[in-house]
C-alpha cells in the first residue's frame, strides 16, 4: 500500500498545467518510468527516442501499442504522435510494438469503479486516478472499454512532442543555430536559411541527448491532423486485398492446423478415435490440446477434413445443459444471498410503490447469450524451437497472452516472443487466450516449423465465451403524470470474474457490469433503485462490445419508457425533464431536433427514443420504423452523443454507424441457445444480425462540449435495442420485453 500511495501522490502533485498556446506537460519521467521496450530489439542504425518513436536512416516508425481490431486505432494513435512530432500524414509506418508494461492502459479500470460517469466530484476523480496507479503497477497493456483514445490522447502527443524537441536540440547542436530560430515541417528541421535537416539524419544525435523535462503541446487551434478527416493508413491495403491478417501469414516450412475441442466448454475429452483422421490425406499428425485434439496437416482444408472425421467422446458440461435450466438459475438469483450491488438507492421505494392512487407497473425482461463471431475466425501462428516460442496472433491482452503461452509451453515468459497482429474483427473475443494456448500446444508438439492454427466457423461459434444472458424484474409507479418510483432488479452472471478467472486472477467486490448502463443513468426520479444480483456462472462468459451496458440499456430504458407512457408524458420531453446531467440533456435535445421529434408521422409508422450513458459517453438515439404487411422495417436512426472532442470525423461516423448496426442487428435477430451443454448455433445461417437491405439511414451528430475526451467504439450500442423496441411499441402498441425481437414480431 505504501508504494501505491507514494506513486499516487506523485501523480497528483506533478500534473499538467494549461498555458497560453498549449498545454505544458511536466511529468514525462513519471509517465515513462519503465525501460523503453524498443531498446531491446533495435537494428543497427536504428534509434528510439521514447517507447512510441523509432527512427532508422530510411524512415520513421510510430508505435501504436493497442490492438487494431478494425476500429482504426493505429491510425488514430499515430495521428496523435504525428501531430506533435510534425511528420506528414503517411510519412511514417505504424506498428503495434512489443508487449510491455510501458504500454499500460491508464484508463482501462476507470469505468470499473462505482461512480457514475455523471459524477465528476472530488472522490470520484480521486478513485479514478487511483485506478491508473493499479494499471501501471500491473502493467495492464489492454485494448478495450473504448479507452484507447482517452488513454492515448495526452501521452501519444507528449511522445511526439518530446521526440520533436530532441530532434530540434540535435539540429541546434549540429548547426549552431538556437532552437528558438529553428522550426519543423513534415519530418525535418528547417533552419532560418531554409535548409532541411531530415529527422532520419538527425535521429542518432537526438537519441543521445537528454529527454526534456517538459514540453508544450499545441493548442487544438494549431492542429493540422487531429480533428480533421484523414485517410486511414490501412484503407488502401484493405481495399485491394493486400492487407495481411494473421490468417494470411505464410512462412517457409509452415504447416496448417485446426482443432476440435469439447463444445461443452470445460467438459474435457473422455476418448478420441482418430484413426480415420490420421489416414486422411495431407495429415501430418494428430496431437492433444486442452479439451480435445489438434490436427496438423499440409493444407488448412485438409486439416478441416481430417478434423471432421475425428470421433470424440466429450465429457459432460460443467454447467446446466440447456437454456431452460440456465434460465431457471437466473430466475432463482433474485434473492438476498445473491445481491451483488445496490449502487443506486434513492428515496423509499416500497413506500412510493404503495402510494395511494398511483398506477403500478411491473414487468420482466430478458436478454440472450450472444456470440462475438468476428469474421476472421480465431487464428494464430507459432514456432517452438530450442526452448523458445515465437507467436504471431491478434490479441487485446498481449502481456497476458505471453503468460498463458509460456504456461502452455512450460517455459518462462522471457522465452516467448509475441508479435501482436491486427485482426478481422474482435468485439471483445480476442481478450481471450484459448487460441493462443492451443497454437502453443501444437507448436510444442510439432517443433521446428511454424504452425498456423485456423478455427472453423463451427469451432468459433460453439467455443465462444458469449455475452451473458440476463433478466430484469422491474416495478414502478406513476401518479399525476409523473414517475414516482422505479425499482429495477437485474440478474446476470459476472463477466469480469469469469474472464479474469481464466487468467488465474480473482476480481474482488461487486461486478459493475451486472448493472452498468442502468444504475448510473442521470434521471431525477424521486424513488429510484437499481439492484444487481449475481447469477452463478453457468456457461463461461466474456466481454462483448459495450459489455454490461449492451443489454442493460434495453432492460433499463424500455421500462423507463413504459413508465413514461403510463404517466401520459412524451417519451423524449419527459427524459429531458427528468435529466439531471447537462451533457446528457444536450444530446437528448439534439436528437429531438435532428429527428423532428413531435412532428406527425404517417399511419403505421412510429418513433422511439432511448438514452444510455456508458463509457462516459451520453448517447441518445431515435429510431423510426414502419409496421408494413411484410413486417417491421427500420427506416431511419438519429444519434447524438458527446465524446468531448472528435479527432477524426470520418472514422467517428463509421464507428458510430457500425455500433448502431451492431446493436440493432443483434437486437432483431441474434441469440445463442444451449442444448446438451452446447451452443446450438454453429454458423451464420443461425446467428446473424441485419444485412444491408435491412440497414436504415443513420444520421449522426457529435454534440460539441467541453467534456473530457472519450472513445466511441462501444457507446452507440446500448441505446440501439431499446430505441428500436420503443419505436415498435409506438408503431404497433406491442411492448416486446425479450431479445431478439424477431421472436415476437416479424421483420421485413
Amino acid at each position: 500500500m505504501g508504494r501505491i500511495r507514494t506513486i499516487a501522490r506523485r501523480t497528483f502533485l506533478i500534473g499538467s498545467a494549461a498555458a497560453a498556446g498549449g498545454l505544458i506537460v511536466g511529468w514525462i519521467a513519471w509517465k515513462w518510468p519503465i525501460a523503453n521496450p524498443l531498446l531491446k530489439d533495435l537494428e543497427a542504425g536504428d534509434v528510439t527516442l521514447n517507447p512510441y518513436v523509432r527512427i532508422s536512416p530510411t524512415g520513421i516508425s510510430i508505435i501504436a501499442p493497442r490492438a487494431d481490431v478494425g476500429q482504426g486505432i493505429h491510425s488514430m494513435l499515430a495521428a496523435m504522435v504525428a501531430e506533435e512530432l510534425d511528420v506528414a500524414w503517411g510519412g511514417f509506418t505504424v506498428e503495434h510494438g512489443p508487449p510491455s508494461a510501458a504500454y499500460y492502459n491508464e484508463a482501462i479500470l476507470a469505468e470499473g469503479v462505482p461512480f457514475a460517469a455523471t459524477n465528476d466530484g472530488f472522490v470520484a476523480r480521486r478513485v479514478r486516478g487511483l485506478t491508473k496507479v493499479v494499471t501501471k503497477l500491473v502493467g495492464m497493456q489492454v485494448t478495450g472499454g473504448s479507452t484507447s483514445v482517452p488513454d492515448g490522447f495526452e501521452k501519444m502527443r507528449v511522445a511526439g512532442a518530446v521526440a520533436r524537441q530532441m530532434l530540434l536540440a540535435a539540429a541546434a547542436k549540429q548547426t549552431g543555430v538556437a532552437v528558438g530560430s529553428l522550426r519543423t515541417e513534415a519530418g525535418a528541421v528547417i533552419t532560418p536559411d531554409g535548409t532541411r535537416l531530415e529527422y532520419t539524419a538527425l535521429a542518432a544525435a537526438a537519441a543521445v541527448s537528454s529527454t526534456p523535462s517538459n514540453v508544450t503541446l499545441k493548442d487544438p487551434s494549431e492542429w493540422k491532423l487531429l480533428g480533421k478527416p484523414h485517410q486511414r493508413l490501412d484503407i488502401e491495403a484493405k481495399s485491394t486485398g493486400r492487407f495481411e491478417y494473421g490468417i494470411d501469414m505464410r512462412m517457409p516450412g509452415m504447416v496448417y492446423a485446426t482443432v476440435r475441442t469439447n463444445p461443452r466448454i470445460g467438459g474435457g475429452m473422455t476418448s478420441m478415435d482418430d484413426a480415420a483422421a490420421k489416414a486422411s490425406k495431407g495429415v501430418i499428425k494428430v496431437v492433444p490440446v486442452k479439451g480435445g485434439v489438434g490436427v496438423v496437416a499440409d493444407n488448412t482444408w485438409r486439416a478441416f477434413q481430417a478434423a471432421a472425421q475425428l470421433k470424440p467422446q466429450w465429457g459432460a458440461a460443467p454447467y446446466p445443459a440447456t437454456s431452460q435450466e440456465i434460465w431457471d438459475v437466473v430466475a432463482a438469483s433474485f434473492v438476498k444471498d445473491r445481491q451483488d450491488s445496490r449502487f443506486k438507492d434513492e428515496g423509499d421505494i416500497e413506500a412510493a410503490l404503495a402510494t395511494d392512487g398511483a398506477t403500478k407497473l411491473d414487468a420482466e425482461y430478458r436478454i440472450p447469450f450472444l456470440a462475438h463471431a468476428p469474421l476472421e475466425p480465431m487464428t494464430s501462428v507459432a514456432r517452438f524451437a530450442d526452448g523458445k516460442l515465437e507467436v504471431w496472433a491478434s490479441t487485446q491482452m498481449p502481456r497476458f497472452a505471453v503468460g498463458m503461452a509460456a504456461k502452455a509451453a512450460g517455459i518462462e515468459p522471457e522465452a516467448v516472443t509475441l508479435h501482436t497482429l491486427p485482426s478481422g474483427g474482435s468485439f471483445g473475443r480476442r481478450l481471450e487466450t484459448d487460441y493462443i494456448e492451443q497454437v502453443t500446444q501444437l507448436a510444442v508438439a510439432h517443433p521446428g516449423v511454424p504452425v498456423k492454427l485456423t478455427w472453423t466457423r463451427e469451432e468459433d461459434m460453439t467455443h465462444d465465451f458469449p455475452r451473458p444472458l440476463g433478466m430484469s424484474r422491474a416495478r414502478g409507479a406513476v401518479k399525476d403524470g409523473k414517475i414516482v418510483a422505479y425499482a429495477l432488479d437485474i440478474a446476470a452472471p459476472a463477466v469480469a470474474s469469469s474472464q479474469m478467472g481464466r487468467l488465474g486472477l480473482s476480481v474482488p467486490g461487486p461486478d459493475i457490469a451486472i448493472v452498468a448502463g442502468a444504475w448510473d443513468q442521470p434521471y431525477g426520479i424521486p424513488n429510484y433503485r437499481v439492484t444487481g444480483y449475481r447469477v452463478p456462472e453457468t456457461v463461461p462468459v466474456s466481454s462483448w462490445r459495450s459489455v454490461g451496458a449492451s443489454g442493460n440499456g434495453f432492460l433499463h430504458d424500455c421500462f423507463l419508457d413504459e413508465l413514461i407512457v403510463a404517466a401520459g408524458a412524451d417519451p423524449l420531453r419527459e427524459r429531458i425533464r427528468l435529466c439531471t446531467h447537462d451533457a446528457s440533456r444536450r444530446v437528448l435535445e439534439a436528437v429531438g431536433e435532428m429527428s423532428g421529434w413531435g412532428t406527425p408521422l404517417p399511419a403505421g409508422r412510429g418513433r422511439g427514443v432511448a438514452f444510455v450513458i456508458a463509457f462516459g459517453v451520453p448517447v441518445a438515439e431515435v429510431v423510426e420504423v414502419t409496421n408494413a404487411p411484410a413486417g417491421i422495417t427500420i427506416d431511419r436512426v438519429f444519434l447524438a452523443c458527446d465524446v468531448g472532442r472528435v479527432l477524426d470525423p470520418v472514422n467517428f461516423e463509421n464507428q458510430v454507424q457500425g455500433g448502431v448496426i451492431w446493436g440493432l442487428g443483434h437486437a432483431v435477430n441474434a441469440e445463442l441457445t444451449y442444448a446438451d451443454g452446447m451452443a446450438q448455433q454453429t454458423n451464420f445461417h443461425q446467428f446473424d444480425g441485419i444485412r444491408l437491405r435491412q440497414v436504415p439511414e443513420i444520421i449522426v451528430q457529435a454534440v460539441k462540449s467541453g467534456s473530457r475526451i472519450h472513445g466511441i467504439g462501444e457507446p452507440p450500442v446500448p441505446p440501439a435495442a431499446p430505441a428500436l423496441a420503443n419505436a415498435i411499441f409506438a408503431a404497433t402498441g406491442q411492448r416486446i420485453r425479450e431479445l431478439p425481437l424477431r421472436k415476437h414480431i416479424n421483420f421485413a
Partner: protein, 152 residues
C-alpha cells in the same frame, strides 16, 4: 490440375473436391479471398470466374471452368478498379476482412447492371456479411462507383 488466376497460369496437384478458396490461399498463396464461414453464407471468399461472382469456399476446384480473378487481379494500388477507388474515397473498411468479398460482389454486379437502382444495389450486396457494420458506406460506395462507371 491447371488454373488461370489473375491472368497467370498455375499448375498444381490437389484433390478435385478441394474448394477453390483453399487452393488459392494455401497452394497458390493468393490470400485476398478470405475464409469466413465455409458455407457460402458470408461472401468473404467471393472471386470472379469468367466475370461472375462465385463463393470460392463452396466451389470445388475440379469444377472450375474458366479464368479466376481475385481482388488482387481486380485492381492494384497503382491502377484501381472504380469500385476500389470508391471504397478508398469513402473509407468503407473497418476491420476490412469482408471487404475483398464485398468489392468483388459489387464489381461483378456493376458489370452486369449499368443502371442499378438503390433497391437493386441493396439486394445485390445483402448476401455479403459485414460484422463491423460498414453497410452505410458500402451502400454509398457502390452508388458512387456506379456513377463513376457512367451508369447512373
Amino acid at each position: 490440375m491447371r488454373l488461370t488466376v489473375n491472368g497467370q497460369p498455375h499448375e498444381f496437384d490437389v484433390e478435385p473436391e478441394m474448394p477453390l478458396l483453399w487452393v488459392l490461399r494455401d497452394e497458390l498463396g493468393v490470400t485476398g479471398p478470405k475464409f469466413g464461414c465455409g458455407m457460402a453464407l458470408c461472401g468473404a471468399c467471393t472471386v470472379h470466374i469468367d466475370g461472375k461472382a462465385v463463393r470460392s469456399c463452396q466451389m470445388p476446384v475440379g469444377s472450375v471452368k474458366g479464368a479466376v480473378k481475385t481482388i488482387e487481379g481486380l485492381g492494384t494500388p497503382e491502377a484501381l478498379h472504380a469500385v476500389q477507388r470508391a471504397w478508398i474515397e469513402l473509407q468503407v473498411a473497418q476491420c476490412g476482412y469482408c471487404q475483398s468479398g464485398q468489392i468483388m460482389t459489387a464489381a461483378a454486379f456493376l458489370a452486369q447492371h449499368r443502371h442499378p437502382t438503390d433497391e437493386q444495389i441493396d439486394m445485390a450486396m445483402t448476401a455479403n456479411l459485414c460484422r463491423c457494420g460498414t453497410y452505410p458506406r458500402i451502400r454509398a460506395a457502390v452508388r458512387r462507383a456506379a456513377d463513376s462507371l457512367g451508369g447512373r
